[in-house]
């Protein structure tokens, strides 16, 4: 570089400094890098690269920094580590030090980093839809607040359960200043559990569940491995008893009674389809059966009949539950208080309180009530509300009666929204005071009593937004930065309850760890009201139509992340459908209605209706219709509505992202009308079974055995593969030999690994039309297979990724050596050498290679900030596939080398393994004796998929073991 250029660049840098703050500058630099790496088509675009002469303290270009924070994608508040590269967060991973989640992070958490770079975020405060300054926005809010006070109209805050102390304190300050009241409403509520505990234990509380303590577990429609309450924590706990051991008889037994096929049901040892109307009778029956076996002397609920199959299963379950007293647990996701009362009763008889679930230190999420929202809606409709501040909820979309809320909100003097991004409720707001994304803000969360989790910013705010706490404090007349406010709250409420001496020390340590646990005052488990079970009424069976089972799915939850393309493209663990919801029917109902997959049906109840494509779901309870909530959002943005993918053929039309079912969700029964049209589901997997058509033979791809057979012979279900003959001595791996073992007994299909892989490896998102053409780009997919009776099938999940074969069939066929074998057993894809013949993909027995059919969307410069600079963004026309996160291997090698030691294989954790809450994925070096990977290779349950072809995969699987106690 010559003198002049340096001068010019320095001048430019100085200019930049005038206009940008330091972090923003780094962000801009990262953006330039991303643009460079993404734009490498035929020739790189010409851009100036400015040297980062003044870096933030401690920052090293090219080295990632990790910040402990809390995932805010749902109320569960799992611990997360934000990976920050060159000033921008690019990845969220589980925080192993977090007391609840202990390392995993679910699909939505993994995806939430992309929400940060969502183009639909508000970029500044808005008044009447027009950008204004914060001063103007504050003035307008304060004027409205004063006017409300003057005119005698109320000030109301509509909020979800405050996530933590900071939010609660800010809310209180605001309420106190304006004499306002808060309506606390949670879009994903668990009111029935709260209410039932008020009835049975005299305390409206949500227990904390300890699945790790449960040896016998019965679930009623509680998708605790999918999206119920705190799935990462629960998966972690549940999985502890799921890997069978030869030495100790510790494997748990899990029965699930549910209407739809949930990921949890799919993982149960015994799954019984049960329509919602049978749920309360079933819970009553189970309670009575357990009462017989535990010598319950109190009053009992009346007898109720349940279908025969369920009754048999309940008897078996009762036997096992009673035998495991003190280590048994019954959970229910029902929104029916009576059912929950019965479940509490059963748990009480089983001695579960204080053992497998705990009221003494309850969970503190979702404490709100729907009644609060209804009362507020009534107040609004009556025109009594002068100012309504909405924080963290979106009732205009997901409320029990969204249209009524919308109409009522129009009568408020002023609606103020604190939403960080566009949503249906913010669309009604006169003033939008946009909050930060969690990765930009100081905040905290208190998911359970005594558990305090910190949210710390990983970057300076991208836009002119302000933390919600700051806004509330500003309007309360106590302006403070969120940071100071949080520190103050923690000093008073957390620090004081620890043994730490120095606050600064405590604070720094807490920030590094991400969360602290303090002694919460034990409230005791409470006294069980023995009369409660007898007060339960027997329900009348629903008259006609289908019983609705509208659920929160793993990908879409309640729809708050609907504009996140990672989640839209994530196949549902069970249906494998992407980009929209579908109406699932039991096979016998589908046959009766003449439904085939993709046939449009209209679901209607009480004036509301929705049109969805049908889906035939094996294992679903007859007489029910199941569909995921969270789709069909109108104000969430381009992705939620209609993703503009590569538009190739002008005749192709993109369809919107599913239908909104909230209006139907409170109906008792749904009328189903079969329409003439079709809308093919965009599924990533279309063949559901390992049983071949025509021959009826089952493919030996996913090996299973029962726990009982396993105890007699650990190799059961896993016959030794015939050793093939080879003329070739094979590769010699002198240094590392990378390998992976996946435990099929632990994999729940939750798909956290899939999203983690997308985020880590810059895997392109292709959109609905392309997924329909079987062109999803997932490097790692989770195959889901049913076996047995379609009315009540057994389900198994199998993560499938590049198997890094020793004798890789892809390597021999590439004419230009674009895929080659490394000396450490990696099958490496050389993108810039690939000419795209696709021969390798054809010759891959596992079909894990993915081809870039187009230049996939990287026009959104904001989203590009999430791209991992350690991984090339592939151009069109090249093949790509799982690399075993080779960038992580090389980072670990570099770190080891800098530290002057040799790398231990077990130090390398690929993105999929890191995210897995169940710990199903073990990665490491086979040559490192005693490492988990080397030990896994000796496991009697280990096998290679398609060993008979002789390709010698480095990824191996452990047989799935089902506990067939019954």
């Amino acid at each position: 570089m010559n003198e002049k250029n340096i001068d010019a660049l320095e001048a430019e840098r100085d200019d930049l400094h005038l206009s940008l703050r330091r972090r923003e500058f780094i962000g801009a630099l990262g953006g330039a890098f991303a643009a460079l790496s993404s734009g490498c088509g035929l020739r790189p675009p010409k851009e100036k690269i400015v040297p980062a002469a003044d870096l933030p303290e401690g920052a090293v270009p090219g080295r990632a920094d990790w910040y402990a924070t809390t995932c805010q994608a749902c109320p569960a508040a799992c611990g997360a580590l934000a990976k920050v590269r060159d000033g921008r967060p690019i990845k969220l991973e589980g925080n192993p030090d977090h007391p609840l989640s202990r390392g995993g992070l679910c699909a939505r958490g993994q995806a939430s980093v992309l929400d940060l770079y969502d183009s639909e975020r508000f970029r500044s405060p808005l008044a009447g839809g027009k950008p204004v300054s914060w001063a103007e926005a504050d003035a307008a809010v304060l004027a409205a607040l004063k006017q409300a006070g003057a005119s005698g109209r109320a000030v109301r805050v509509l909020t979800g359960t405050p996530a933590g102390l900071s939010a609660a304190a800010a809310l209180e300050a605001f309420l106190a200043r304006w004499g306002a009241k808060a309506a606390v409403y949670d879009p994903v509520g668990h009111e029935a559990i709260l209410e039932a505990h008020r009835l049975t234990h005299g305390r409206r509380a949500l227990p904390r569940y300890h699945f790790a303590q449960a040896k016998v577990l019965v679930g009623f429609d509680a998708d605790f491995l999918g999206a119920w309450l705190s799935p990462v924590e629960f998966t972690k706990d549940w999985s502890r008893n799921r890997a069978p051991s030869e030495e100790f008889d510790l494997m748990s037994w899990h029965a699930q009674f549910e209407a739809r096929m949930s990921p949890t049901g799919a993982n149960a040892d015994l799954r019984v389809p049960l329509a919602p109307e049978h749920e309360r009778p079933a819970a009553a029956l189970l309670g009575r059966l357990v009462a017989d076996r535990t010598g319950w002397s109190g009053p009992r609920p009346p007898r109720a009949s349940v279908p025969e199959r369920a009754e048999r299963a309940l008897r078996d379950a009762a036997d096992l539950l009673a035998a495991a007293k003190g280590r048994a647990l019954v959970v229910s996701g029902s929104s029916d208080v009576d059912t929950q009362v019965l479940v509490n009763w059963t748990n009480h008889m089983l001695g579960a309180y204080g053992a497998t679930l705990e009221l003494s230190r309850p969970a503190l999420i979702a404490q709100g009530s729907r009644a609060a929202l209804s009362a507020l809606t009534a107040e609004l409709a009556a025109g009594k509300v002068g100012v309504l501040v909405v924080h963290g909820v979106n009732p205009a979309y997901d409320g029990p009666d969204a249209s009524a809320f919308r109409a009522a909100a129009a009568k408020a003097g002023l609606v103020v929204s604190l939403a960080p991004r566009r949503d249906e409720t913010a669309a009604l707001a006169g003033i939008v005071a946009p909050g930060h994304h969690a990765l930009e803000s100081w905040d905290d969360a208190r998911p359970g009593a005594g558990v305090h989790s910190l949210v710390q910013p990983a970057m300076a705010p991208l836009f002119d937004t302000r933390s919600a706490a700051e806004s509330l404090l500003a309007w309360a007349g106590k302006p403070s930065s969120a940071h100071e406010h949080l520190r103050g709250v923690w000093r008073r409420q957390v620090f004081s309850r620890t043994k730490a001496k120095d606050f600064e020390e405590f604070w720094t340590e807490s920030l590094a760890r991400g969360a602290v646990t303090v002694e919460a005052p034990g409230l005791g488990e409470g006294r069980f009201d023995a009369a409660a079970p007898a007060r339960v009424k027997t329900p009348g069976l629903s008259a006609s139509g289908f019983a609705p089972v509208f659920f929160h799915s793993v990908a879409m939850f309640d729809g708050r992340q609907a504009n996140n393309p990672l989640l839209q493209e994530l196949p549902d663990p069970v249906t494998k459908a992407t980009w929209g919801n579908c109406a699932s029917f039991a096979p016998e109902d589908a046959a009766r209605l003449g439904l085939v997959e993709g046939r449009l049906v209209r679901l209607s109840a009480g004036g509301a209706s929705a049109v969805l494509p049908a889906h035939v779901q094996p294992g679903q309870a007859p007489g029910t219709v199941a569909a995921a909530l969270g789709y069909g959002r109108t104000e969430a943005g381009a992705v939620a509505a209609n993703f503009p993918t590569v538009k190739m053929l002008p005749i192709e039309k993109e369809e919107g992202g599913g239908a909104d079912l909230y209006a139907l969700s409170s109906a008792a029964s749904i009328a189903v009308e079969v329409l003439g049209g079709m809308s093919a589901l965009a599924k990533s997997q279309t063949q559901d079974s390992l049983t071949e058509p025509f021959t009826g033979r089952t493919r030996d791809v996913l090996r299973e055995t029962s726990y009982q057979e396993f105890l007699m012979d650990p190799r059961s279900g896993n016959p030794e593969a015939e050793k093939g003959h080879s003329l070739w001595p094979g590769h010699e791996y002198k240094g590392h030999k990378w390998a992976m073992a996946v435990d099929l007994s632990l994999c729940t299909g939750c798909s956290a690994c899939v999203v983690s892989c997308y985020a880590e490896n810059n895997v392109p998102i292709v959109g609905k039309a392309e997924v329909r053409k079987s062109r999803d780009m997932a490097w790692l997919r989770v195959d889901r297979y049913y076996s047995g009776d379609p009315e009540s099938p057994e389900t198994a999940f199998q993560p499938m990724l590049c198997q890094h074969c020793d004798n890789a069939p892809c390597e021999t066929v590439c004419p230009v050596l674009a895929t080659v074998h490394s000396s450490e057993g990696l099958n490496m894809q050389v993108y810039n050498r690939c000419v795209g013949t696709r021969y390798c993909a054809n010759n891959c027995p596992y079909k894990v290679r993915r081809f870039n059919w187009f230049d996939y969307a990287h026009e959104d410069g904001l989203k590009n900030l999430q791209l991992n600079p350690d991984v090339v963004v592939r151009t069109r026309g090249v093949m790509e596939k799982c690399s075993f996160c080779v960038q992580r291997i090389y980072t670990a090698k570099a770190e080891a080398k800098t530290a002057g030691r040799t790398l231990k294989g077990s130090e390398v954790v690929p993105a999929c393994a890191q995210s897995c809450p169940a710990g199903a994925i073990v990665f490491g070096d086979l040559n490192e004796a005693g490492s988990p990977a080397a030990r896994a290779a000796e496991d009697p349950r280990i096998y290679s998929v398609l060993a008979e072809i002789g390709v010698g995969p480095a990824v191996r699987y452990r047989t799935k073991v089902r506990n067939k106690k019954v």
Binding site: V646, F694, R697, S774, M800, Y846, F851, R876
Partner: protein, 458 residues
Amino acid sequence: MSATASALREPLIDGDKGYARVTEDVCRIAEGTPAPSWYAGLALSSAALLTGVVLVVHQIWTGIGVWGLNKTVGWSWDITNFVFWVGIGHAGTLISAILFLFRQRWRTSINRSAEAMTIFAVMCAGIFPLIHMGRPWLAYWVMPYPNPMGPLWVNFRSPLLWDVFAISTYFTISAVFWFVGLIPDLATMRDRASGLRKTVLSAASLGWDGSHRTWQHYEMVYLLLAGLATPLVVSVHTIVSFDFATSVIPGWHTTIFPPYFVCGAIFSGFAMVLTLMLVARKVVRLEEYITPRHIDAMCKVILLTSMIVGLAYATELFTSWYSANQYEQFAFLNRIRGPYRGYYATMVFCNAVVPQVFWSQRARRSIPLVFCVSLLVNVGMWMERFVIITTSIHRDYLPSSWAMYHPTYVEVGTFLGSFGLFFTAFLIFCRFLPMIAISEVKGVLDYAKPHHGGKHGH
């Protein structure tokens, strides 16, 4: 070379022609003004070619996603068309080289056109591996050439690389062989021409003087080239079949493929020669040169190769059953009963059933029937390649990845475009070069025979 004259054998050329007449008959096609039908044909075929060009440009500009391929089916129409056209390209060299070595003198009437057809078919074939690449602008990377990237070498283990060599060698030898065969005829035309045409033809005929020495050298070169080209006839499709045979995919991984592909190629090549010749002899009035005897002989080759192909189908089914390999058995059941069963049925019907009519001499001599059969054979052979390529990979080992493939208009149009290229090239060939090997045909005339009756007083 002495011709064997037999009273029992009908003459190969009808019309009791003299040498001058042969020269006149063949040259007039290239020298005169083309008939309106030629222009019509050229308009049609060049329109098809243009369609193909536009679609290929669209595809290269936008990405292969405009085709119907997916994560499971990485090749379909593209490689089907490639194998189809390579197969078509087999007949020419077989007719010129192998039949030449076997002294099958009936070949003389058709060998020139068949060779031209071969060259054009191989050109059509070559397009597909080129455009099927994700980054065709880097296609030269498949050639081992000195480069500054290491140097980076090609993968000699890859059958695709073998393809590159096999096809380019075949194309080169076929073109040289064709050109060498053309030299005496070009000289004949040169002697009749004037002006620019004469200049061009003079250069192209390489100073041919028709002397004894020249003829002697010529015959030796031709014989040697025939010897060189003969193994190529077998090797090209053998190597193309290796693309599949060396893979691990059930339905591809089959040792029977080399002979099966070669026979199939000859089968389809002869069918294409018949299709073209039956039209050409009518349009340019060469019925006396391409007589029912020629057609009869080609039908016999078709019948023979049809039976070999049919045997191959049966053997494949037997092998898959006898292998006791679950995946292998399923691959074949899926061909027969799966979603692409219509393609399989068409294939068997067109390739193994329809040609059986050629057991009857009446059928072999019925021009309309032969024409229909030749078309059906080509349809069937295209289906065969589609069945092998697509149905094997659309449902391979892991059911989770099973997928369906449907072509888009781009693939259909590109295939059409390849026909456009083929026919455009062939029509131009008819217009400017002798369609029939004048000098060779003269060698099979009655006049050329030593015991030719003295009727004409020679």
